[in-house]
Symmetry: C2
Subunit: 594 residues, 2 copies
């Protein structure tokens, strides 16, 4: 089918369903960051394959909204079709909401997919359109009947995450949720996030690339703990484990009907995650308490066993990245290497390590000006060749049985300009200034964020993204609620939270520099009644001394850097396999002075 | 009347008014920070004279809530009466709201003064008590009929604030408000804040100590600009000026009746400021738009004329404070000086300068451990004598025709301990770290606050107050909306905003150190589309070199300090009147090095 044929087929479905507009968003029934192929309805309909975007079709219009990362790609991919590109956050282009406010008339109906819209977003849209007396209708997908070669639902087997990795049995985690429910006078809790469910029930899956989760819902009541999942994904062994932990397994599709039969006074859920179909299945008389997921809160602070494992995973991952960077510097000098082949080589180094599962996301392997595009990734077909000059940026991570990692290094492949060295050193200052912070317990990532930005602002440079994000444990590489960002947040940083620091300098057409380490929030000291926290580093990969101008660093910054390299040397030396690697490590970790 | 007689008399009024509880808060009809004597109902009733606190009387109870600053004073002042002290933020003592939730029963009525409660607080209380089916009633003061020797309403004359100080005529300021009203589709705006009204209509008054304001309301409609004020306060000249500016003067008491006769569709007001009596006067059919005062926003950024004046006022004020500190150091060595006599002397130095009106607040003149109490102030009866050792802290400010100032210095009166020097130097680091910030336009004081705190947090010390506050222009010494604080705020810092930086170290029984300068937000540079701002210093008083340990400062901090002292020397030298002062200034401004 061509795109225009798809649009016509959708319009027929819309006419049958009696809707005047139909929105196709980019989401699965769990509001996951990464979607399995089965749920990519917007990409199928429009031909535009970016990771974010929203399409809208009416009787006579077909529009697709995309953000700045994708203007060029989207325009190219929808070319020749009826779809018109709507550039997000661009003057002259209304947002989807503004468009709906302008165009939708009294009595008209806007349709959307009942499982890909969260209840929160559905309510927002209904409120938005109420003043113009238009309505919003959540429906079974109108794409489903017309998408003929649709990929099937993923069917990867799940596996148990052993107690030596989790530190806590599923039944204890469930008991804690029940305590939280009871404190809120509720008798049930719907758990929707795939990461939350995998963590709660101590399993991992393979349904989504780079994210060891499985499509599932969970429902906790005072006496039952349900897991709704395709039973084909469970081995006999897994069934036995769940049974021992008091977990009742039912088919994925049954979640709505089980919820509709609940006979309870109050249910807790997170409207940002629960889809409209699930929400509407809740019996009318049941009170609903909308609050951030208990499990998300519970898993945000690593327990001692998780933390010990996570630290070990970081050391192994750091060794792989460090060996890769040594290899790369030699290879670039020697001859033929490009962004794509290099990323493949990094995979090889990682997969040699213990407990390796997968990458935690598609590596950003970017040479020279490509690195100025924050979300650049080479493909097997499209990549740049590297030369023995300027910067190479590699942002990558691993999934291991004992942890999830995320690290970025920018390295000199040869001689650098003064501007390149200055920007690298300022990025380093920015990183260190946040990394060495001591802060009052209760402080938020919003408060701390400026410690990283100010050293760059001082030189009239800002990076247009957050400073750092939370990381899951053998789960999503982006997991909240903690983060470093200018966006207001009331989430306090707590001991055991895993968070990245990744400031950068991005100069279009020139270079991109990002230096990312991962940290765990740790106790620093106290002065009763005040307690103070710090960030304890977990990543150990040398920061490229060849790109640093020591005269731009303060004494404290040089001390931080030398301490860091001393720790890198100590942690990584056992993993160096050749004399060349050993001497490279020693050279990379030599102390700097002004 | 004794306190208990007052309580009995109030209970009779309560019985007549059919209320079961009566709240006496600390406020005037404008929610002013400082009250004129006429409005101090809570102090009259309870005998407790602190600047904050709330009393509640029921048939069989009499309670007064006070905060930590006043536990000792309040307990002493209510001793022997029926009043019981309720310690705020102290375990075992419910807050007023918690107490009401626990004690008030269905059908009961809580009364309060209709002019001292803001509509926002009234609505909050009504919502709080709704679940227990109790009600809140805003009434004419029940204290008024029983307070026999009540001070009359203040009657100070107002005076015109000339164009050379204001930079903008009142009619232009009024026109701007009308534009803002029209953008909000409103036809009227009630202005309640005494500072807002004085600024809007370009006058100043003398009704409140330290604050050159007059009791008044303003109402702007599309064709009228009303000033409700006691006409005795106006000279013929002032009447003429108001008439030229299109301002209609009416008696203070007529504001409610004029509002009740408005025939408009929509009115704008700030519920945090409008009292319940005014609010209830608004005709039922009028739509109400509740938003922060336009005038507060408009006056927050000084115009070029205001800024130029404000800077001049700071230089003169700095000269007075500097000469005072030089005098004090000599006087302490010579013999007899105490906190109270010293503060009197500071007044003398200030009042010698041009354009002096008043102090901007009661000076905090605190020696040794007294300075650890953040809000300490000596009186003519109770003060400490100073000795030639340890620290003296002076936090003071002036009101001038051309500006309002606020500055704190802590100085060594003789030899210091290592701990005193360390704490002083860390406070200085904290101050400098925020003072030298460069920040992206749009940043808030909440984001910047940590730049001052982190250098102290690093040593496990925190100050339990904001880092800085806005200052009015020939108005309140505390004026928003800008501030530096950990409390969340969405108010962006903008060019022309006047703000203090005043971190401190407070060690009970030992010493208190605070270093406060005032700054104006200024343009720093740009990197399109990003604009960057900085803080430009306006206060020029030496920072006591004798208390600094240079080895604790970074190179950048020493550079900032030496640059600052170079500027102090240049600005103040013309104001030094004797050779001794001149050589003191030179010594105080000598450059430091590690």
């Amino acid at each position: 089918m061509t795109t225009n044929e798809k649009i016509q087929a959708l319009r027929q479905q819309m006419s049958k369903a009696k809707v005047d507009y139909y929105i196709v968003n980019t989401a699965d029934p769990h509001q996951s960051e990464y979607l399995s192929e089965h749920f990519k309805e917007r990409a199928w309909l429009t031909g535009f394959t970016g990771s974010a975007g929203t399409a809208l079709v009416s009787k006579d219009q077909a529009l697709v909204w995309a953000d700045g990362r994708y203007f060029i790609q989207a325009a190219h991919q929808i070319e020749g079709s009826e779809f018109k590109l709507m550039k997000m956050a661009t003057p002259g282009y209304p947002s989807l909401n503004e468009w709906l406010r302008q165009e939708v008339k009294a009595g008209e109906v806007v349709g959307l997919n009942e499982v890909s819209y969260s209840q929160r977003n559905f309510e927002f849209l209904a409120q938005l359109l109420a003043p113009q007396e238009a309505s919003v209708k959540a429906l079974p997908s109108l794409i489903a009947p017309i998408w003929q070669d649709r990929p099937s639902m993923p069917e990867a087997k799940i596996f148990a995450h052993d107690l030596k990795f989790t530190g806590q049995e599923a039944k204890e985690k469930i008991a804690r949720v029940r305590e939280q429910m009871q404190a809120d006078h509720a008798q049930a809790n719907i758990v929707v996030g795939l990461d939350d469910i995998a963590w709660l029930y101590n399993y991992r899956g393979g349904d989504v690339a780079n994210n060891p989760v499985a499509l599932a819902f969970a429902l906790i009541t005072l006496d039952k703990a349900y897991l709704f999942i395709d039973e084909k994904k469970l081995s006999l062994e897994m069934n036995k484990i769940f049974s021992e932990q008091g977990i009742t397994v039912l088919p994925y599709e049954q979640v709505s009907s089980v919820i509709s039969q609940l006979k309870i006074d109050k249910i807790v859920l997170d409207k940002r995650l629960v889809n409209t179909k699930l929400y509407q299945a809740i019996p009318r008389e049941t009170k609903i308490l909308d609050k951030p997921s208990y499990v998300m809160q519970n898993k945000a602070c690593l327990n001692p066993v998780e933390l010990e494992n996570q630290k070990k995973a970081y050391v192994r991952d750091s060794a792989a990245v460090t060996r890769y960077l040594f290899w790369l510097k030699r290879e670039v000098e020697a001859g033929e290497v490009n962004e794509w082949s290099a990323a493949e080589k990094l995979h090889e180094f990682r997969s040699q390590g213990e407990h390796f599962l997968d990458e935690s996301f598609t590596s950003i392997s970017a040479y020279g000006p490509n690195a100025a595009m924050m979300h650049y990734a080479p493909t097997a077909e499209k990549f740049s060749k590297m030369e023995a000059k300027s910067f190479y940026l590699i942002d990558s991570g691993g999934q291991y049985y004992d942890g999830t990692t995320d690290i970025t290094r920018t390295i000199a492949l040869g001689s650098l300009t003064e501007e390149e060295k200055t920007d690298f050193t300022l990025t380093l200052k920015s990183h260190i200034n946040l990394a060495r912070a001591i802060f009052l317990a209760g402080s938020t990532g919003t408060q701390l964020d400026i410690l990283a930005r100010e050293p760059l602002w001082r030189h009239f440079m800002d990076y247009k993204c957050g400073t750092g994000h939370g990381v899951g444990y053998v789960l999503g590489v982006h997991e909240g609620p903690q983060r470093f960002s200018t966006a207001p947040s009331s989430v306090a940083l707590k001991e055991g939270m895993h968070i990245t620091i990744e400031p950068g300098v991005y100069k279009e057409g020139k270079h991109g520099i990002r230096l990312e380490n991962d940290y765990v929030v740790a106790y620093a000291g106290e002065n009763p009644p005040d307690r103070f926290l710090k960030l304890e580093v977990m990543s150990y990969v040398p920061l490229d001394n060849e790109a640093i101008l020591p005269e731009l660093l303060s004494d404290e910054e040089i001390e931080w850097l030398n301490d860091y390299h001393r720790a890198v040397l100590e942690k990584l030396m056992p993993y160096m396999t050749t004399d060349a690697e050993k001497s490279d490590l020693e050279a990379a970790c030599r102390p700097l002075s002004k």
